[in-house]
Amino acid sequence: MDPANFEPMAMPLFDQLYNFAHWLTGNGVDADDLVQETYARALRGFGSFEAGTNLRAWMYRILRNTFLTSRSGLAAQKTMNLDDDDAGAVQEWTVHAVTPERLMLQQENRQLMLDALESLSAGDREILLLCEVEEMSYREIAQVLAVPAGTVMSRLSRARTRLRQALSATAPGKAV
C-alpha cells in the first residue's frame, strides 16, 4: 500500500490501540512508547500490507509483537506466561459455584472488574480485550496473536475463567 494512505487509515485506530497498549503495559509511559513504536513500525511495513485485508488486526498484531519484544513485554512473558497454552492451572468447575461478577455488576462496581482484569496475565488480558473490548472475531484475534483460529476459542475460554476467579478473589466476601 502507498504510505500516503497510512495516516488516514491508521489514525482512526489510535485511541483504541492506545487503550489496548495501556492495558498490556500497565502504565502510561510504556503505553506511549509502545503506541509510538507501533505506528513507526506499521508505517515502515505498510508497503507489505495488502489492501482489502484487515488493517485493524494487522495493527494490533504489530502492537502486540512490539510489546512482546519490549522491556516490559519481556518481563511480562517471564512472569505471566503470556503464550502459555497450558490449561492445567484452571479448574473450570470452580467457576460456576460462585458468580461474584453478578454481584459486583449489580453494584456497578466497575473498579473491581478493572482490578481483576489488571491482575490477569498479559496473555489473558490481551485476548479478553481483543474479544470483549475490541469485539474482534476469533479469526481476527487469531491474526493478531498469530495462532490457529482453534486456539483462540480455548485460550479465550481459559482467560474468562481466570477473570472470574480473579473476581472471586477480589470480592471474596461477596461471593454467592
Binding site: Y18, D32, E132, R164
Partner: protein, 250 residues
C-alpha cells in the same frame, strides 16, 4: 459441565462464532439446561463488565498529534517538495546566473582575445605601423579617410610615453585605429573603434585595467567610440595611458 456442554462452546455462541445451525443447537440445549443458561447469563454480565475497560485509558492529545505528524511525513512528500521548491528555484537561478556570467566571461574573453590577437599580430608584424610618427599631428590626419570617425591623440611629449605610429585595424569587420605607444621597453596598443552592438556585447561598458595574461587591458566607451588599451606594461602604466586617452577624448 454436567450436561456435557463445553463452556468454550457457549462462549463461542455468545461471541457469535458458531454457524447458524450450531447456534440453533446451543439455543435449544440452553432452553432445557439451567446450568448452561446461568453460564450464558454470567458470560453476558462479564461482557458488560468488561466494557468498563473500553476507552479506560485515553491517549494524551499531544502524543496523538506527535505520532500523527511523524506518520504524516510520507504523505507530505509533496509538501517537502514545496518546501524544497524555493531552494530548487534558488539553485536554478544561481545556475542560470553562473551560466550568464560564464557566457559573458567567455564572450568578453572572445572580445579581449580578439584585441589581444590584434596587439600580438601587430607586434609580430614586419610593419607594425603604417604611419611611423611620434607626432600626433601626423598620425591623426593619417587616419582621416581610412576610418569612419575621428578621435584625438593626446600629447605624449614630456611624458614617459612615446607615440610610435599607427595603422588601421579591423575588429568586428569594422575598420578602426590602432596606435602603438611605447613605454620604456613595452609596447601598448590603443585601439579605437566605432562602437557596434557586437562590441557592446563583447566588451563591458567600462573596465579598469585588468590582467589578461600576458597583458593588462582596459576598455571604455565614450560617445560612439570604443577604446581598448592593451599591452604588457604594468597596470599603472596602462592606467595612466588610459587617463591620457580619456582626457583627449572626453
Amino acid at each position: 459441565m454436567a450436561c456435557g456442554q463445553q463452556p468454550a462452546r457457549l462462549a463461542a455462541y455468545m461471541d457469535g462464532e458458531l454457524t447458524a445451525a450450531e447456534a440453533q443447537g446451543v439455543e435449544e440445549h440452553v432452553r432445557g439446561c439451567s446450568e448452561c443458561a446461568l453460564e450464558i447469563a454470567a458470560l453476558a454480565r462479564l461482557r458488560r463488565g468488561l466494557l468498563a475497560a473500553r476507552g479506560r485509558y485515553l491517549p494524551d492529545p499531544a502524543l496523538k498529534k506527535r505520532i500523527q505528524q511523524q506518520i504524516a511525513k510520507p504523505t507530505r512528500r509533496t509538501g517537502v517538495w514545496l518546501w524544497l521548491m524555493p531552494a530548487t528555484v534558488g539553485l536554478a537561478v544561481v545556475a542560470v546566473l553562473l551560466a550568464m556570467v560564464w557566457t559573458q566571461r567567455s564572450v568578453s574573453s572572445q572580445g579581449f582575445g580578439e584585441v589581444a590577437d590584434l596587439h600580438v599580430s601587430d607586434l609580430a608584424s614586419a610593419n607594425p605601423v603604417d604611419v611611423v610618427s611620434t607626432d600626433r599631428h601626423t598620425v591623426k590626419p593619417w587616419f582621416a579617410g581610412r576610418i569612419p570617425f575621428t578621435f584625438n591623440v593626446p600629447e605624449f611629449g614630456g611624458s614617459e610615453y612615446t607615440l610610435m605610429g599607427g595603422r588601421v585595424a579591423y575588429l568586428d569587420q569594422q575598420p578602426g585605429a590602432q596606435l602603438i605607444v611605447g613605454l620604456r621597453q613595452h609596447k601598448i596598443s590603443v585601439l579605437i573603434f566605432r562602437e557596434t552592438a557586437e562590441m557592446a556585447r563583447v566588451f563591458p561598458a567600462a573596465v579598469t585595467v585588468r590582467q589578461r595574461d600576458p597583458f593588462n587591458v582596459a576598455t571604455w566607451q565614450t560617445g560612439e567610440l570604443r577604446f581598448v588599451v592593451i599591452g604588457d606594461a604594468d597596470a599603472a602604466g596602462i592606467e595612466k595611458l588610459v587617463g591620457m586617452m580619456k582626457q583627449a577624448n572626453p
